[in-house]
């Protein structure tokens, strides 16, 4: 990939999105865990649960702030680097982003200040409501951003308007209740819960290994293990791929994940390991488990999953329809409106308009899609195949980690129930080393979903290459370096503060209430 503006814009987006997503999962999960811990405090009145809420709250705060700081970058980048995208789909894509601000961010951000500053200004119940408001707000924000993202994967409820040269909403409820968005929301939020659970589990395990704060650590582990077990079951069972049969490209993603070049009779076998070869278009040394892929992908024994070769052939047909749509559109625009052309042209646009985006894919190879040769069409259809080994391995590592999290949380759930949490140092060490793993799984999940979406920015509607701003490559390179610098400095500082806060541990809770508040939050003078 040469360093053109498209590649640079993609690099910057991927870099900032993956970085932003280092902080989001922990915020999603830890906010709920805080609310659960504080609920126990309010219900039982036992101060240790307040101490736990405050201690984990300190770590939550250090993480949260970077999520906020890097989140603004995400929202602004659509307009900055993807201005044709913003024009082309803003009518639909902008709405969930705005609603996210109104419904989620205000709730989360207004109350998060009160969470930290309000311990001695609010009643017990008042503060508990504040904590729940923060948890609710962060989870709502995941809902709306995934409705937006779900639409990129499965652009329902919209149509192209030749007069405004953009997609416009036709059915808002279809956008809202997009099945892909729902699958993504459940999966992503569960992944956040797993991240927080493993984090709490690991940090608590470290305390037990050091023989510090045993009471707090054990209680935290009990909460984290049960919450984490439920969440990791949900993240695996209700995987994102449940939405993968909704659209052609989602099917392509599924076939690439599987390294499945040819369609197999249902139910398809799952390739446990193998070496997908993009050039030879086959997967070497595949070890297959019968039936499993069909079950994962379709939840049925009879539905067929198309292979890559078949999907490419289908894509060729859609490119041809796209060319017909493109041709009709040019005639409509030349005549100055859909009402000024012959009914055949209008009909041609109505019949093929949904594949207009496929014609735009040809622009990489030829200026006017109508002049595309057979070879161009074939090439554009093959461009539709994502990088198979990347998807294949990302998915397998992610799923493998998912099963590991189920095992780990189930094990600690059992130990907690038998009151043996501090008996096995080996297992505690395992929990400590597991801390970074959910982040790896989450980042790989992003790669499967978004890298796997290429070459589309909006599936079937707009190719990524057509969506960029007409900026100079050096300008974007400059901001990439700028982001890389500040982000690197900040993650180093964040990790250092996190480790420092963990080493310092919670404040003793036999002190009077008023002094309990700040010392966990403020460095000693």
């Amino acid at each position: 990939m040469e360093l053109d503006i498209v590649a640079l814009s993609r690099l910057q987006f991927a870099m900032t999105a993956l970085y932003h997503f280092l902080f989001v999962p922990l915020t999603l999960g830890l906010s709920v865990l805080l609310a659960i811990m504080e609920t126990v405090y309010v219900m039982t009145g036992r101060p240790i649960w307040r101490q736990m809420t405050k201690f984990w709250g300190t770590l939550f705060g250090i993480n949260f702030v970077l999520g906020v700081a890097t989140g603004i970058v995400m929202e602004f980048q659509f307009g900055m680097n993807w201005s044709y995208y913003s024009h082309y789909v803003g009518d639909i894509f902008g709405a969930p982003l705005a609603i996210e601000g109104l419904m989620a961010f205000f709730l989360e951000a207004t109350f998060v200040g009160l969470f930290f500053f309000g311990w001695d200004k609010l009643s017990k119940v008042g503060h508990l409501m504040t904590t729940w408001a923060v948890a609710l707000g962060s989870n709502f924000s995941a809902l709306w951003i995934l409705i937006a993202n779900g639409w990129m994967q499965n652009p329902v409820g919209s149509a192209f308007n030749p007069e405004t040269m953009r997609m416009e909403v036709t059915d808002f409820f279809a956008v809202l209740f997009n099945p892909v968005a729902q699958a993504k929301f459940v999966h992503t939020v569960s992944a956040g819960y797993v991240t927080a659970a493993i984090f709490v589990l690991g940090v608590s395990a470290w305390y037990l290994l050091k023989g510090r704060h045993a009471e707090l650590a054990k209680r935290s582990m009990t909460v984290a293990a049960s919450f984490g077990l439920a969440a990791s079951l949900s993240v695996v069972v209700l995987g994102d791929e449940s939405g993968y049969l909704s659209t052609e490209h989602q099917k392509m993603k599924l076939a690439a994940i599987e390294g499945m070049w040819e369609t197999e009779p249902a139910p398809a076998a799952f390739t446990l390991v193998g070496f997908p070869d993009q050039k030879a278009r086959e997967t070497h040394y595949a070890i297959k488990i019968p039936w499993v892929m069909g079950l994962i992908g379709t939840r049925s024994l009879t539905q067929e999953i198309p292979g890559i070769d078949e999907l490419v052939t289908r894509a060729e047909a859609r490119i041809r329809q796209g060319i017909a749509a493109f041709d009709a559109l040019q005639q409509i625009r030349a005549a100055g409106g859909a009402d000024k052309v012959t009914s055949e042209v209008r009909q041609a646009f109505e019949n093929n308009g949904h594949d207009l985006g496929y014609a735009l894919l040809l622009k990489r190879h030829v200026d006017d899609p109508r002049e595309a040769s057979e070879a161009d069409i074939r090439q554009a259809a093959w461009d539709m195949v994502p990088h198979v080994p990347t998807l294949f391995w990302s998915f397998r590592i992610m799923v493998g980690l998912g099963f590991f999290f189920i095992g780990l949380t189930a094990l600690f759930f059992y130990l907690s129930a038998r009151r043996r949490l501090d008996r096995y140092p080996g297992l505690l060490r395992l929990a400590v080393f597991a801390i970074p793993l959910p982040w790896i799984a989450a980042e790989l999940g992003w790669i499967v979903a978004e890298f796997g979406r290429q070459p589309w920015i909006i599936e079937g509607v707009l190719p990524t290459a057509a969506a960029v701003s007409s900026l100079g490559a050096s300008t974007v390179l400059m901001t990439i370096i700028g982001f890389a610098l500040i982000y690197t400095v900040l993650i180093v500082i964040e990790m250092a503060l996190m480790v420092r806060a963990i080493r310092k541990g919670p404040e003793a809770d036999d002190e009077p209430e008023a002094e309990l508040v700040p010392q966990s939050l403020v460095a000693a003078e």
Binding site: F76, S83, G94, G101, M165, T475, A501, E525
Partner: protein
């Protein structure tokens, strides 16, 4: 869905133009005092305890206030997609500068007090200063350049092209004047907030800085108006205006003309209220600083912000982003909005959630009402940052 026909497209566009103003003013009033406070931080607070008083004065609320900016971005995206696309990419490096500064700000608030070292804290103090000063300046510079016209054009596919929008070209004299006006206005506002939230030397210095800023605001606002009158060509639509037409900017013709930014005031004299409020608010703020009426000074500076931002919007109406190199590409209220249906849906959502947001924000501010207690900070109790 036919429900959206209840409100016609023209009305919805005007409503969303007003809401755009509400959002920008909401941001400038709510987050404006955070930006102003951060800008004042190194100047009104000398000792560590004083600085923490200043930081804690905005500590619990800046996060919620910043959502006005995020919502502004989202709402412009949803309701005015071409405006979002052109302005965010056209002002690319300026946007980057704002983002860079806004990344420093939350981190500065949160991380500064986590360590005891003086170097660490002094470093974050300057980061916070940058986080307040740079966005205030750059946003003002951007508004100044919008009044001048931005060098962009559309091709027939409505792809956007720019000619010369580097950071240095934005920093022209008029743009800089608007940038400084923006800084002065927000420093006045931040000063008023600090007077309200602090005591002793911090409050006294904030009062002095706020008064100076109020005075500078008046001078720069007058100077800006004069400059706009004498030296800046406005824009006017020369073709027939289809207020319910498709959102395609290329359907109209536009000319640049001296004094065109003042024509609305001739047609609708009530619009004069906006600049009057701008001056009256700043003057009032100056007077209330002197009279030591804390709440009134803050209210007056809010009125000044309302007046000054409204002046820009009303002068340009129906333009929202004029193009200097291809005037017909200019974005106006009538050809840069979302579809009828999207504007309607977003209005319904806004009507449901904005009252809720205002209600709980008010509740939170009431809980946090009162001065920051310097003694509690030096004891290490009662405040988080």
């Amino acid at each position: 869905m036919i429900l959206h026909q209840l409100i016609d497209y023209e009305t919805l566009r005007v409503v969303w133009w007003l809401l755009l103003g509400v959002l920008l003013i909401g941001f400038a009033v709510m987050d404006g005092f955070d930006l102003g406070t951060a800008t004042l931080l190194p100047f009104v607070a000398k000792t560590d305890v004083e600085r923490r008083v200043v930081i804690n004065a905005v500590g619990p609320v800046w996060e919620g206030n910043q959502v006005w900016l995020i919502l502004g971005g989202g709402a412009i995206f949803a309701a005015w997609p071409p405006l979002y696309a052109v302005s965010f990419s056209g002002f690319y490096l300026a946007m980057f500068a704002i983002l860079f500064a806004l990344i420093l700000r939350p981190v500065g608030f949160k991380y500064r007090s986590k360590r005891d070292s003086a170097v660490w804290r002094a470093g974050w103090d300057w980061a916070l200063f940058v986080g307040g000063f740079v966005p205030a300046l750059v946003m003002g510079v951007a508004v100044g350049n919008v009044l001048l016209g931005v060098p962009f054009r559309f091709d027939p596919d409505l792809r956007i092209f720019y000619e010369g929008t580097t950071l240095f070209e934005l920093l022209n004299p008029f743009g800089l004047l608007c940038g400084l006006l923006s800084v002065a206005m927000l420093v006045m506002h931040g000063g008023a907030w600090l007077v309200l939230k602090s005591e002793g030397p911090v409050a006294e210095r904030s009062r002095i800085c706020g008064s100076i800023a109020a005075f500078v605001t008046i001078v720069l606002f007058a100077l800006g108006g004069l400059w706009l009158w004498l030296g800046v060509d406005g824009y006017r639509i020369t073709s027939e205006i289809a207020t319910t037409g498709a959102s395609n900017p290329l359907a109209k013709t536009v000319e640049q003309a001296p004094g065109a930014w003042f024509e609305n005031y001739g047609r609708h004299s009530w619009m004069m209220l906006a600049p009057v409020l701008g001056f009256a608010g700043a003057l009032g703020s100056l007077a209330f600083f002197k009279a030591r009426r804390e709440v009134s000074a803050l209210l007056a500076s809010s009125v000044a912000i309302l007046g000054i931002i409204s002046t820009v919007g009303l002068s340009m109406f129906p333009f929202i982003l004029p193009s200097s190199i291809d005037p017909r590409s200019s974005l106006t209220v009538w050809d840069a909005s979302s579809s009828h249906l999207t504007l309607f849906i977003m209005l319904v959502v806004t009507a449901i959630f904005v009252p809720l947001v205002v209600a709980y924000t008010t509740w939170v501010y009431r809980i946090l009402w009162g001065k920051v207690d310097a003694k509690a900070i030096s004891d290490g109790s009662g405040h988080a940052y």
